[in-house]
Amino acid sequence: AQSVSQHNHHVILSEAASLELGCNYSYGGTVNLFWYVQYPGQHLQLLLKYFSGDPLVKGIKGFEAEFIKSKFSFNLRKPSVQWSDTAEYFCAVIPSNSGYALNFGKGTSLLVTP
């Protein structure tokens, strides 16, 4: 079945540590890729997106993601996390032959400790 997989369900890091959250998808053909974040008590909001072009995408708050087509991956990275990055992170895919709804992974809960 077509799906989006996020490998880490719970991640705990100390402040200033580097972050990488994995995301793989199983859709064929062209895809549009997204990372959404949900801070405690807040709405889901867009961190970054990839449609085409440079596979290294920069988003808000120092986040970036790299699209590796051969690996069907779109991993999220941040060189140095802060306590305020504590949140739930969701990878999502829109296959090109779809109706534009987001297909989400199960999410990764990140806790950054002081």
Binding site: H43, L44, Q45, A101, K106
Partner: protein
């Protein structure tokens, strides 16, 4: 710019009762989505509207769920009768036009948390 509004924020009902959720998208957004997010899962699309027409309702349990978007603005999602497994957060999202690059970003509301007892 006002965001996506949803009400109520919380609802507790007993199984077999009915419940309705309301969503007001961002002004001018043609596309409206309802997602269901069960605890520990990512959001899953229930139904997508383009203006007041349905684009995709393939994952909507039509025996108990219904949704409408009269006049292409506000939308209502109804569950009748509710089951225990309907306990979830119901998210509404809107976008300008997903077919146009740069206008495809979906903006989410705060969600309605439903508990079915």
């Amino acid at each position: 710019e006002a965001g996506v509004a949803q009400s109520p924020r919380y609802k507790i009902i007993e199984k077999r009762q009915s419940v309705a959720f309301w969503c007001n998208p961002i002004s001018g957004h043609a596309t409206l989505y309802w997602y269901q997010q069960i605890l520990g899962q990512g959001p899953k699309l229930l139904i997508q509207f383009q203006n007041n027409g349905v684009v995709d309702d393939s994952q909507l349990p039509k025996d108990r769920f219904s949704a409408e978007r009269l006049k292409g603005v506000d939308s209502t999602l109804k569950i009748q009768p509710a089951k225990l497994e309907d306990s979830a957060v119901y998210l509404c999202a809107s976008s300008l036009d997903p077919r146009d690059r740069g206008q495809e970003t979906q903006y989410f509301g705060p969600g309605t948390r439903l508990l079915v007892l």
